[in-house]
Symmetry: C2
């Protein structure tokens, strides 16, 4: 009864404020009003103490009300710590999730909407997993937020030390929050996108805190379109350049190196940006950079969906798409650090981690595209990554 | 020209000796006559020096001629070392491969035959990969032999030490030979089978040699048939019991423990047997045990194919089969030691390692079978492995 009332309230509000997004489907069993109401009070509090940021916080007020579900951290705790990076990142990723889900829904048939699962983790924290499956435009689209606290598993601490973190021994309390998404469209002319932006804090036995950001956005087309690749990379470069001119070239290369299917000697796609362990020049500056990157996802990708979602294709293109998705699965399950870290974390919600896998994939023994075919053209680029913006320096 | 002559010679011989197996397809570009001729001379030599084994060696003579391709080790080297375990295991796995491929072909339409790829590895050794794809009965069937020599990669040595091998430091020359197979049938009422039998030798800097056998056979049904599971386990138990009554219970449990998809808390299938690092009571006795296991593959599995290959099924069963195949991919790419060892070995032929992946697989977010459904019945057994032969002790 109470839930029904909340439901009606939300629908009323949503219908008023975002006219292009129709009423939630029945699958969404969430309480929004609390989030909305207290979200506003967070915004109000922040606005009154930081006048210079008032304009930005007012935007946050609207965005907060649009979250796909209530944040993971209690509204009370968020309101009390508006300047804590943990609060800022959680509110950012909730907003990024909601904006992206709605931008994708706008490309879909009106009766196809994200299913929203808000879940909690016994060890601390939880997440909001949004999945849209078997749409007309998107075969499988997942956008996941997780805000997790607990003790760092020794294997994870070891992995961090291996990449240069000087972490003390012992049970280290950690906080990890991130948004991650993989979109597998139905039309093989629409590329797949993946992005992930995350913030990590580890508290050492002496009380000191280490923190860093990581993330990236990368594109996996099934057929090469130079125009698409240039559009995509340009959007990412613009986001990077606003913060540091060295970021795009550095993180573009990092992306080509990271999304590498070693046993095949090919990259997963046409790249993008990727970075990890970013903590300089300051926490706030890196946060602003991550925010720019995350906000660049929609302009980098949605125009490509619009451009190609109604392109004609046949069985040949579909089969090639499924084979390429097999490669995507290989990368995610064999090499991806995020997937491994996720699956090895005690109490991990594997459904949220594995939502990145495509609805369907295919493996043919010894499938080699004919030389010169459009399939071979893609593979050539995967084997020798290109600079997409050479004329734009 | 010479190759054509050989080809004709082989066809002539094969037509005489194995009437149910028609002429090889054009894809098979191999030279058999050499293997056959010298195979006979090996048999003759062995027979003259070990009279007690003469009967068995005579069988070997026929089997050698039926190999899918020439062995990896030169015929000269094999003939000179008939009692070397490296020779014995290579001849065994070539025979097991051929017998199994032909037993499967006998269940297929007559125009569907294994493609045979014999390959060599720059670092030493090579393999014979047989794949049958898109048959009427088998959607994808792979049977692979590899005989590999080289220096043990440090990561592999480390992995062996971690499971208790006391290996010295340094570049250790190794020899590894094995047969492995995964069969994905088209009909969801026919289970998938996997087996792998292998022999490993490492030469230490002081000249001493460590050697051991490993392997197993396990069944992955899409729908539970107690009758099938009992038949399968009984065939394996009989093979084990001929050597040691403790083997079946020990290796059955090992199999349940090994083929475990940890993040889902479920086994890959209804089990079978699995063992590793077996070197006692003697190399010869373990070889005979491994031979019995490998020879039990056909009687354990082919009757199940015959029983179900023409069973009626619909879209529901097909979709469930594809979802279960997604789990199979998860196990192979995330957990399987063989796949990892393979992909991390320099110069590995990834097509032969990944032939174990199904032609098609599917991942649905939060797919949970209805309680009490036949799909849920299978999952129950995957979560709580059963003893299939409780009344047969």
């Amino acid at each position: 009864m109470l839930e029904n009332m909340f439901g009606r309230g939300v629908r009323f509000f949503k219908t008023l404020s975002v006219f292009r997004h129709p009423v939630k489907t029945k699958k969404t069993k969430l309480r929004y009003v609390g989030a909305f109401a207290v979200g506003c009070s967070v915004a109000t509090y922040v606005a009154s103490t930081h006048k210079a940021e008032m304009a930005k916080k007012k935007v946050m007020k609207v965005d907060t009300s649009h979250f796909m579900a209530e944040p993971l951290t209690s509204i009370a705790k968020l309101s009390e710590n508006p300047d804590d990076m943990k609060t800022k990142i959680e509110l950012l990723i909730m907003k990024i999730q909601a904006d992206f889900c709605r931008a994708l829904e706008a490309e879909e048939d009106v009766d196809v909407r994200f299913r929203v699962d808000r879940w909690e983790r016994a060890e601390g924290g939880g997440g909001v997993t949004c999945v849209l499956q078997e749409g007309r435009v998107f075969e499988k689209a997942g956008v996941n937020v997780s805000v997790v606290t607990g003790k760092l598993p020794p294997a994870a601490a070891q992995q961090m030390r291996a990449r240069g973190k000087s972490l003390q021994e012992g049970e280290l309390p950690f906080f990890a929050a991130g948004v991650s998404s993989v979109i597998h469209p139905r039309n093989p002319l629409v590329p797949t996108i993946h992005f992930n932006y995350r913030y990590f804090e580890v508290r050492e036995p002496d009380g000191s805190v280490q923190s860093w950001f990581g993330g990236g956005t990368d594109l996996t087309p099934y057929y090469l379109s130079e125009e698409d690749s240039v559009h995509f990379h340009r959007a990412l470069k613009e986001a990077c350049d606003r913060h540091d001119p060295s970021f795009y070239p550095r993180f573009k290369k990092w992306c080509d190196d990271y999304f590498f299917i070693k046993h095949r000697g090919e990259r997963r796609g046409v790249g993008g940006i990727f970075f990890d362990d970013l903590e300089e020049p300051s926490k706030e500056q890196v946060f602003q950079f991550v925010k720019s990157c995350a906000e660049a996802v929609i302009p980098s990708y949605v125009p490509l969906v619009q451009r190609h979602k109604d392109d004609a294709y046949g069985l040949r293109e579909r089969e090639w798409q499924l084979l390429r998705r097999g490669r995507y699965v290989e990368f995610n399950l064999i090499y991806d650090r995020g997937t491994k870290f996720g699956l090895y974390t005690p109490g991990a919600r594997f459904e949220s981690i594995l939502m990145s896998l495509p609805l369907t994939a295919r493996w043919e023994y010894m499938h080699i595209p004919s030389p010169g075919s459009k399939e071979a053209q893609l593979v050539d680029v995967l084997k020798s990554p290109r600079e997409w913006l050479v004329d734009e320096k």
